[in-house]
Subunit: 245 residues, 2 copies
Amino acid sequence: MGKISVVGIGTGNLDEMTPKARKAIESAEVVAGYNTYIKLIEKILVGKKIIGRAMMQEVERSQLAIQEALSGRNVAVISSGDAGVYGMAGLVLEMILNLPEENRPQFEIIAGVSAVNAAAAILGAPLMHDFAIISLSDLMTSWELIKRRVSSAAQSDFVIALYNPKSKRRTTQLAEVQKILLEFRDKNTPVGIVTNAGREGESKTISTLENFIQEEVNMFSLVIIGNSQTFVKDNFMITPRGYDL
Amino acid sequence: MGKISVVGIGTGNLDEMTPKARKAIESAEVVAGYNTYIKLIEKILVGKKIIGRAMMQEVERSQLAIQEALSGRNVAVISSGDAGVYGMAGLVLEMILNLPEENRPQFEIIAGVSAVNAAAAILGAPLMHDFAIISLSDLMTSWELIKRRVSSAAQSDFVIALYNPKSKRRTTQLAEVQKILLEFRDKNTPVGIVTNAGREGESKTISTLENFIQEEVNMFSLVIIGNSQTFVKDNFMITPRGYDL
C-alpha cells in the first residue's frame, strides 16, 4: 500500500513552500493537482506521473490519486495555499475514510502558507485582529448563506477576507457584498486586493469600500476588507491590535 | 541603514518554516522574539545577537529591533505561526511608518504557516468551509466585543477557531464562549483541540461542544469548533465542502 500526502504548496513560489511539503512532493511517484498549480512547481516534478485535471473535477482527481496509492505508489495531492482551506484535504480525507479500514492507504496532511496570509503580508498587516474567511463561490454553498455570513461578519467588526471573489461566470456578487458591507461599515474602510500573490504578475491594490469594485479582481485575487480600526499609510494596510504607541 | 524582516516561523519546527523565512533569519545579525520562540529555532541563531523579551513587552522589543536596523544591522523579528495573525507584523510596521520617511529602515513581512492551519492539518480538515478566527485575549480587546463576535460567527454557521483560549489568568472565558455557542449550535458539534502543534508534546483531542471545556487547554492550545456540517470519523474532524461523493 502506498501513501497519500495532501500538500499545501503555498503561493507556488518554491521559496514559500515548507521543506516538509517539498520532501513529500519529491518523494512521491505520482502528483495530482489542478494544472495551474502543477505548472507552478513543475521544476520539482520531473519524471513523476502527473494527474492534472481541470478545476471542476476534484472528485475524479482524488479517486485516481487514491487508486494510485492503493496500487502501491506514493502520491502527493497538491493544493495552492493551504490544502485545508478550500483545498483538497477534506475531500481526499473523506474519500479515504469511506474505504474499509484495512483498505486505506496511509495518509497525511501537510499545511502550507495560506493564500490569505500571503496576501496579507503583501498588503501590510491587515489581519492583526479577529477575521473571517468567506468564499464567494456559490457552486456548493447557497448564495443566501454566503450573504448571511458577510452580514454577520460585518456587523461584529471582523476583518473579512474574500476567497473566489469573482470568476468569468460570477461577476455581480462583489457588488452585492459591497452593498451589505456598506450597511455596517464606513465607505472609507480600506480594502486590499492582491492578485497572483507570490507569482508572476503579482499585483497589489489598496482601495476603499466605496470604490474597490471598480478595481481589477479575478479568480486569482484575494480581497481583504478592513475593520473599523484599519487604516492605510504609505500604501500599507494595517489593522492595529491595540498597542499604545 | 539595515533591514527589518518580520518573519512567521510556522510551528517552530524547522521543517515547517519556508526557505524564504529561514534565509531572512540566517542573514540577520540580530533576531528579536519572545523567548519561547527563540528557543524553538536556536539551532539557526548561533552567533547572532538575540533580543528576547517576555510576552508583555512587544513594544519595547520592536523599538530595540528598529534601533538595531537604524544602526545598520539586518534584523529579523520572529513570530510563531504567521507574523500577520496576532503576531509582530502590525506593530513593527506601524512603528516604522511613524518614523519620517527618510529615517525608515527597509522592511519586509514574510508569511508563515499560520497556527490555525497547522492545527487543522493535525485534526483532519475542519477548515474546509468559511471560518472565523477569534482571539479570547481581552488584554487589548473588550470582552463584550469578543463575545459579540463569537455570537455572530455562531449564528451564521462559521467554523470558529479560538486563539489564546486560556491562560493562567483567564480561566473562565471558555465556559462563557461555550454557553454562547450552545445557543446556536448542537451540543454534539465536534470541537478539536491541538496543543503545541508541530512541537515537543504535541497533542490532539477531539471532543464535543458539550464536553470540550473539560479537556486540557492552555496558552499553547488552539480550539476549533465545527459548523453544522462538521463530523468526526475515526478521530479525524472534517467539515465537508459539499462535494457529492
